[in-house]
């Protein structure tokens, strides 16, 4: 039963240890009257407003209206997604904390737990890319370290419009710099991510940041306000007027000419303060002086206070006059809703306030007592002792009305999806030209320009840095590793959201498995347009169902995530982009497998079957400027067998390399395995031959799932084949590593290509720097 249905009968009466009934708040002088327009401005429907009145038993004050508006926004209340999200599998024996907390937590063995979460910062990044992305990293770090975990890695999933456009280059450059400057200063290595460029994101970049944090299992702390009489403290940066209504802002469509209005919503990140908060928080948690801690993220003090009270079934009472502010004359409304960065709400055990303050002083941070935990069940706010808001906490956090809106596939996408793409199998300027265009397309080309702006090696645990299938971090002091990958091919999810989402999970798991790590769990960030539109709701529902099926089948439950709706400008929505952040565990780092080919004479084998699926491929986009066709299908049973098989091969140490096949198909995978890493040697050539009866473009550029290219010493070929047979995975010898100085040679029944590594290197590593440097 939903909390809101329980009504407010328990509220207001005196409970054990609680305070006496307090008269309802009077309107504050200067507050605007509550009119239907004002309610509408706050993004609340007449029905929702009626419900608020039922909960309160009266009209809300202006301050209370602001509080409800933030808590019942899409961003905090998940009103249009909650019902669908309940369908996702969330359990497994290794899941310690599923959805609902600041971050999910899984057991990664050896006494360690991993907290991880992904978040979007799309709207702020569209307005101010540098600060938008920077504060996105800040927020996700706080979500993780408030669980008691030390952040050990970040990843980022980025989707932009066409890089040929100056505005896109500006956004891309700013976002990458923002992510880098913030994470680098705090000192968290970036271990991976993805970047896509497609017209589908022209005005609305997708900027998702993920963080992984490690702790001993017993160090886990949750964001609750427990223990009546405990003290609420505001910690960290001062509260300013920035970002007021950010949560509502993130839930509304951007429209042209909105720039002026959205200016005050830009928040500026301060990574040094974040670093201080991180260290201080971990020290506080370890000290035992506090019982709860939470980031003042979206909807600031309101959501942190109300959620902490809601989760523990207590109440909170705080006085905004005690909150340290950056500007004069701030109203309760502003203080409660400010989204100034680098702030925390801490619940200190009664009597330990000074001990808490002492730790914060060491880290040169401010801490002020602003209130205490009550038994009233209410979120109660005073201004200089005068009540300005008094709301039952549970209906506020859990009572947000939820909707299940109708959905239907859009006409435009249906016609694209069902288009006959066979006529485009012929490359207009020949196969070689198509090959070079595909590996030189910014989507396939190396993202070195991006990840070299991120500190990837700080803390000396980066066993596999960005540039391979998945980044791998060592658990300090052990020989265990954590692999992580983010994936979502938005073109595939656009054409068929269910299949595309299944594919995103499959690819993420495959990426992780290719390094030798067992896929364990995911977090997800669902980036969509307006849920009020039936074709968007259709995309959302289908994507969730695809994710449900794939996560269930691959046994990688969902431990949390984030929904970002209204990624639209002037009615045009982004591609539906359900980004998957996958975590894998490696018991023995010595079994790690990497993607570059190694020694001349090594055998190259293909695991899985070529089916030549060109729908939604990079080939169609880069060569024919086309987004069409059915995206590659996902055979979950075959995928699971393939992943178990590659893990067994890694464990037996029979592989010299493994690399998954995704965007750009075999062409991209073979190129990457030949070129190896930038700045490290010169790569090795290879000679491969295919017997498949497929058109050459479908063979080389098809993005069929369920395939991995591996190499092994000649003496291990029999073991590799044997293991493949054991797992029922098709396995064919396709060629040989030919060593330094030789080219990549590819033969098919109807064509032969020879590509010098210098040419490939220039295309693959040079593409993005070329565009960014030349255009400035």
């Amino acid at each position: 039963m939903m909390a809101a249905d329980r009504d407010a009968s328990g509220y207001g009466t005196t409970q054990a240890g609680g305070t006496a009934t307090i008269a309802p708040p009077e309107p504050r002088p200067g507050d605007p009257p509550i009119t239907p327009e004002l309610v509408d401005d706050h993004g609340l429907s007449p029905d929702e407003f009626a419900q608020i009145r039922r909960i309160l038993g009266r009209d809300p004050t202006f301050t209370e209206l602001g509080v409800f508006s933030a808590m019942w926004s899409e961003h905090c209340g998940y009103k249009n997604s909650k019902r669908m999200l309940r369908l996702l599998p969330t359990q497994a024996p290794w899941v310690i904390q599923g959805p609902g907390e600041n971050a999910g937590v899984i057991d990664v063995g050896g006494g360690y737990a991993l907290a991880f979460k992904i978040e979007s910062h799309n709207h702020p990044s569209a307005v101010e890319p540098y600060q938008g992305a920077a504060t996105g990293i800040g927020g996700i770090l706080r979500d993780v370290f408030t669980m008691g975990a030390r952040p050990v890695a970040t990843l980022n999933s980025l989707h932009f419009g066409d890089l040929e456009r100056p505005r896109v280059r500006y956004l891309f450059g700013g976002v990458v710099k923002g992510i880098g400057d913030y994470g680098n200063c705090v000192g968290i290595p970036s271990t991976g991510g993805e970047v896509y460029f497609d017209r589908g994101y022209e005005e609305n970049p997708i900027v998702n940041a993920m963080c992984l944090g490690l702790m001993r299992k017993e160090e886990l702390i949750r964001g609750t306000a427990e223990g009546v009489g405990n003290t609420l403290m505001a910690v960290g940066a001062r509260t300013g007027r920035d970002g007021i209504h950010g949560a509502t802002f993130a839930s509304e469509e951007l429209s042209e000419g909105d720039d002026e209005a959205s200016r005050p919503q830009v928040q500026v990140g301060d990574p040094f303060t974040e670093k201080l908060l991180l260290e201080a928080s971990l020290e506080l948690i370890a000290s035992g002086h506090i019982v709860g801690i939470q980031d003042m993220g979206a909807a600031g003090l309101t959501s942190s206070g109300a959620e902490m009270a809601g989760r523990s079934g207590t109440g909170v009472e705080m006085d905004v006059a005690l909150v340290p502010v950056r500007e004069e004359g701030m109203t309760p409304y502003e203080i409660l809703l400010s989204e100034s960065q680098e702030r925390m709400l801490v619940v200190a055990a009664a009597g330990r306030e000074d001990a808490v303050r002492e730790i914060l002083e060491k880290w040169e941070l401010e801490a002020e007592t602003i209130g205490h935990v009550t038994a009233s069940g209410a979120f109660r706010v005073l201004e200089d002792g005068v009540v300005v808001a008094d709301i039952p906490a549970l209906p506020l956090t859990e009572g947000c009305p939820t909707y299940e809106r109708p959905g239907e596939e859009g006409d435009e996408v249906r016609s694209l999806r069902t288009m006959d793409i066979a006529p485009h199998e012929e490359p207009p300027a020949g196969l070689r030209d198509a090959f070079l265009r595909v590996v030189g397309s910014p989507n396939v080309a190396s993202k070195q320009w991006v990840y070299e702006q991120y500190d990837t090696t700080v803390r000396a645990n980066s066993i596999e840095r960005p540039g391979g299938d998945a980044g791998v971090i060592r658990i300090p002091g052990t020989n265990r590793g954590i692999a992580a990958s983010t994936d979502c091919n938005g073109r595939h999810t656009y054409l068929n959201p269910r299949v595309g989402a299944m594919g995103a999970v499959a690819e993420a798991a495959r990426n992780v498995a290719c390094t030798g790590a067992v896929p364990m769990a995911i977090t997800n960030c669902l980036n969509f347009g307006s849920p009020l539109k039936p074709h968007i709701m259709h995309q959302f529902r289908e994507a969730v169902l695809g994710m449900r099926d794939a996560c269930g089948y691959l046994e990688t439950p969902v431990t949390g995530g984030n929904v970002s709706f209204y990624n639209e400008t002037d009615g045009k929505a982004v591609y539906p982009t359900p980004v998957i952040g996958m975590i894998g565990v490696m018991e023995d780092l010595d079994t790690i497998v990497r993607h570059p080919f190694q020694d001349a004479g090594d055998a190259i084998l293909l695991l899985g079957t070529n089916t030549g699926e060109l729908g939604g491929s990079e080939y169609l986009y880069a060569v024919h400027d086309l987004v069409a066709g059915e995206p590659p299908g996902v055979d979950l049973a075959a995928e699971r067998a393939l992943q178990r098989c590659i893990l067994a091969m890694a464990a037996r140490r029979v592989l010299k390399s493994a690399h998954d096949i995704a965007s750009g198909g075999l062409a991209a995978t073979l190129t990457e395995s030949c070129l190896g890493r930038p700045r490290k040697g010169d790569g090795v050539g290879a000679s491969v031959r295919f017997e498949d009866d497929l058109p050459d473009t479908a063979l080389l550029f098809g993005e069929d799932h369920g395939r991995i290219v591996v190499s092994c010493a000649p003496g291990d070929e029999a073991s590799v084949r044997g293991l493949a047979a054991d797992y029922g995975v098709p396995c064919a010898r396709i060629g040989t590593v030919t060593g330094k100085g030789s080219p990549l040679r590819i033969e098919t029944p109807t064509a032969a290509l020879q590509l010098g590594l210098d040419t490939l290197r220039e295309r693959y590593f040079g593409a993005i720097p070329g565009i960014m440097n030349e255009a400035g």
Partner: protein, 233 residues
């Protein structure tokens, strides 16, 4: 052989230095920046990071941390002091090393492996390397572009005080191998007396084969070895 690792609130390579010293056989300990004494340490490392956020200039504010007077005295007395990355910037700001580290020529933060040629194998920090040896290790900074005025630069070169120089895989010192615009491809220098070393790349991230390189380890074993010899003497 106690090596003090100075920890500023924004240090983030303090643990990496700790582990490197440990692997090299020394005994590392942390010294908080607000301390005023090095507690009898035999050597000092100023680690990488963003000591005080470094928004003004890297190392500018750190130079005024209470511990820095002790570090300066220790260095002036001939004590061994190493600054890595942000530590190098701090030592320049503190006047223990000449010159300054400007914004990278690319104007971007750069994080990748680099190669350096060991120019001097006869310092206390490089005795475990060979002269001319090409070593590879990560670098990771936005402000690593070494600058000194022409006279200072000439003094450094004439005095053989350039210890590491950015180079290519074959050991050639070229513009293409210069990651950040540093004058004369300078990656690391010592002071006149040879007891203070500053370098931008991270030997503290290259002490274990699993990290992709062990080329940083000889720096720490050289240091620990020098301390051991000093103890015997």
């Amino acid at each position: 052989m106690n090596v003090a690792i100075i920890t500023f609130p924004g240090s983030n390579c303090d643990q990496d230095c700790h582990r490197s010293v440990d692997v090299a056989g020394g005994s590392p300990s942390y010294v908080w920046h607000r301390e005023t004494s090095l507690g009898g340490a035999d050597a000092v490392i100023v680690p990488g990071g963003f000591a005080h956020g470094d928004y003004l200039r890297p190392g500018a504010i750190a130079r005024f941390s209470p511990i820095m007077d002790a570090v300066i005295d220790f260095a002036r007395g001939g004590g061994l002091v190493v600054g890595i990355c942000n530590g190098f910037q701090v030592l320049c700001e503190a006047g223990l090393l000449p010159g300054a580290l400007l914004r990278n020529e690319s104007l971007r933060f750069q994080s990748h492996d680099c190669r350096m040629r060991v120019e001097r194998a006869d310092t206390v920090y490089t005795s475990e390397y060979r002269e001319g040896q090409v070593i590879r290790m990560p670098l990771s900074h936005a402000d690593g572009n070494y600058y000194a005025d022409p006279e200072t630069l000439a003094e450094l070169e004439d005095g053989g005080r350039v210890v590491f120089r950015y180079c290519d895989a074959g050991g050639a010192v070229s513009d293409a191998a210069n990651p950040n615009g540093s004058l004369n491809n300078i990656g690391g220098i010592v002071n006149e007396r040879g007891n203070v070393l500053g370098m931008m790349p991270h030997p503290d991230r290259a002490f274990d084969p699993a990290l992709g390189s062990v080329d940083g380890l000889p720096l720490f074993t050289s240091l620990v070895g020098a301390l051991a010899r000093a103890e015997v003497a």
